[in-house]
Symmetry: C2
C-alpha cells in the first residue's frame, strides 16, 4: 500500500557534546523516509532550494525513496541550527532559516493523490489541510505538529485534527495543546477534540498510544550511547507508518506492532549523527532490534494469584 510523507527537506547544523555537523541532510520528511523505507517504499513531497545537495538525496533513492515530488525552487533551502545540552535532555535552536519553505505550497503529483497511508509532517496546519484535500481516499492519515503552530494557528490546527486519524506529538506539545499537565488527561482532551488515536512521544522514556478506551506503552530502547536525538520523532513516525503500509492493516494489534517498529527506528536514529544511523542497516537488523524491544516488556503472567 502506498505511503506518502509531506514535510521539510532541510539542511541541519547540529552541535552535541560528541561532535558537530554542518549543512547535513535533515528535516522531518528526510528522517521519516530513511526510516520508513526500511520497511516500505516512501514517496516524498517537499521543497528544496537551488543550493540543496540533490545528489545526496538521489543517492538514498535506491533504498526505496521516491523524491520526484520534491519541488526545486529558486532560493535558499530550509536550514536549522541547534545545540544540545551535555546530557542531550534539552536543546536550543540557534537559527531557523525557512528559505524556500516560507512560500511552500505542496502540490501532490498525480501518483501521490492515491496514497493510502499519509503522514503530514510538522508544517503549517493550513498546508497540512491543503495536502489532505488533495489525497483521494487515504486509509490512514497521521500528522505531527509543534508548539509554534499550537500557539499561532490553534483553530486551524484543531480543524485539521478533526480530519486526521492519528496525531503524533511529544509530551510537551500534548500538554500545551490541551492545557493540562497530566499526560493522560491531556491525551483524552485531544481525543475528545479530534483524532481517534494519539501517539505521545516521551523521548528517552518511550511512547504512548491512546484511544478513548486503551493505552499502549512502548518503551525506548536502553541505549548506553546516544549521539544525536535529532529526527528521532520523525524516524519513529517513519517506522510506524512504514510498518502499517507494509502490512496494510490498521487493527489495534497491528498499530501496537507499528509502535514497536517506530520505537526501533527511533533507536537507530539517535545512535549516530543525522541520518547515518540508517546507513548499512538491514531488515534483519531491524527485526533483531524489534525483537529485543518486544523482550524488554515481555512478561508471562502465568495464572492469576487471586
Amino acid at each position: 500500500m502506498s505511503l506518502l510523507v509531506v514535510g521539510s527537506v532541510a539542511l541541519d547544523s547540529i552541535f552535541t557534546p560528541f561532535g558537530e555537523t554542518a549543512d547535513a541532510l535533515g528535516g522531518s520528511a528526510v528522517y521519516f523516509s530513511v526510516a520508513g523505507a526500511m520497511l516500505h517504499p516512501v514517496q516524498v513531497v517537499g521543497v528544496v532550494g537551488d543550493d540543496y545537495p540533490v545528489d545526496e538525496l538521489e543517492r538514498l533513492a535506491p533504498r526505496g525513496i521516491d523524491w520526484s515530488g520534491v519541488e526545486r525552487a529558486s532560493g535558499e533551502s530550509f536550514r536549522w541550527k541547534g545545540k544540545y545540552s551535555y546530557d542531550l535532555q534539552s536543546r536550543e535552536t540557534l537559527e531557523t532559516r525557512l528559505g524556500v519553505f516560507a512560500a511552500f505550497e505542496p502540490k501532490l503529483p498525480p501518483s501521490a493523490r492515491d496514497a493510502e497511508f499519509l503522514f503530514l509532517g510538522n508544517i503549517d496546519p493550513e498546508l497540512q489541510l491543503g495536502v489532505l484535500a488533495q489525497v483521494r481516499k487515504p486509509k490512514l492519515v497521521a500528522c505531527d505538529t509543534m508548539n509554534y503552530w499550537i500557539q499561532s494557528k490553534k483553530s486551524t490546527l484543531m480543524d485539521l485534527l478533526s480530519r486526521v486519524d492519528l496525531l503524533m506529538v511529544n509530551d510537551g506539545e500534548a500538554r500545551e495543546l490541551s492545557g493540562d499537565w497530566n499526560i493522560h488527561r491531556a491525551g483524552q482532551w485531544i481525543l475528545r477534540h479530534g483524532p481517534k488515536r494519539l501517539v505521545i512521544k516521551q523521548g528517552e522514556y518511550g511512547a504512548l498510544m491512546m484511544d478513548r478506551e486503551r493505552t499502549f506503552y512502548a518503551p525506548a530502547f536502553p541505549l548506553e550511547e546516544v549521539f544525536d536525538p535529532t529526527g528521532a520523532g520523525d524516524a519513529f513516525a517513519g517506522g510506524f507508518m512504514g510498518y502499517l503500509a507494509r502490512t496494510g492493516s490498521t487493527t489495534e494489534e497491528n498499530l501496537r506492532r507499528a509502535m514497536i517498529y517506530g520505537a526501533t527506528m527511533g533507536s537507530f536514529a539517535v545512535a549516530q549523527f543525522g541520518i547515518r544511523g540508517f546507513d548499512a542497516l538491514t531488515l534483519a537488523d531491524v527485526e533483531r532490534r524489534a525483537h529485543a524491544f518486544r523482550m524488554l516488556t515481555h512478561v508471562d503472567m502465568a495464572e492469576p494469584i487471586a
Copy 2:
C-alpha cells in the same frame, strides 16, 4: 516464605495542590508493609517514639502486618514534612525531625532472623549492614538508599551493595551514585560495583530492572488523577517483595512478574493521600490492575517480517 522489612515508621505532613495531611502514618516500612501485605504477611522492624499513634498501626495488623518488631523508644517519633509542586513533579522537604530514629539500632527479634526475603528500607547504610548481619540465610536481600547516604557514607554504602542481591533506587539516585547521567550506563556501573540486579524507578514513566545482560521495563499506570506521590517507591518495593515471598521464586521470569506487582502497588499508593489507597483494596482489585498493566505493553508480534 517469610518477608521482613526494616525501615522508618514515621509521621508525615504532606502538602499537595489537592489537600494536606498532618502527622499521618508514613515512612518507608509503613508504605512497604501496607502494599506488601496485600500479597504476603510482612514482619516490620523499626522504631517509634512515645507519641506515636500505635493503635493506628495495630489497626493495620489484621491485613497481615506484624508490628511486634517495632521498638517503642522514649522521645519523639520520626517526622517528615514536605510540599509538592503544582504538577507533583517535584517536592520540597520542609522539615525532617529524626527523633528516636537518630539513635535507632535495629535489633531483630529471633523470629525475624530466619527471614527469607529481606528489604532494607532507606536508612543509614551502617544500620542496613547491621541488620543484614543478623539475618541467617536470606534467599533474596534488596535495599534502598538515598542521595544523603550516597553523599555522606559512600564507602559504607558500596560495601553494603556488594552484599545485597538487588538495589532499588530512583533515577536521580542511580545517576548520583554512578556519576553518569545516562541511566543505562549508570545502571551497568552500579552492577559492576555491587548487586546482581538493579531496579531503577522513574516515577510517572515506570521502572527498569537490569542485570548485566538484560533490561526489563515496567511502565507506570496511566492515571488521570494522582493525589500524593509520597510512598510510591516503598509501595512498589512492597509489591515487588510481597510477590516474591508469596511465590518463593527468584527466577528472571518471576522477578519480571514481581515488577508488575510492584508497579501495581505504586499506582494504588499515589491515587490517595498517604496509605489510604490501600484501604478496602482487595486481592481481586490488585489482580485486575496487574492484568491491566500487562495489557499496557502487550503486543503479539506475529511472524517476523524479514
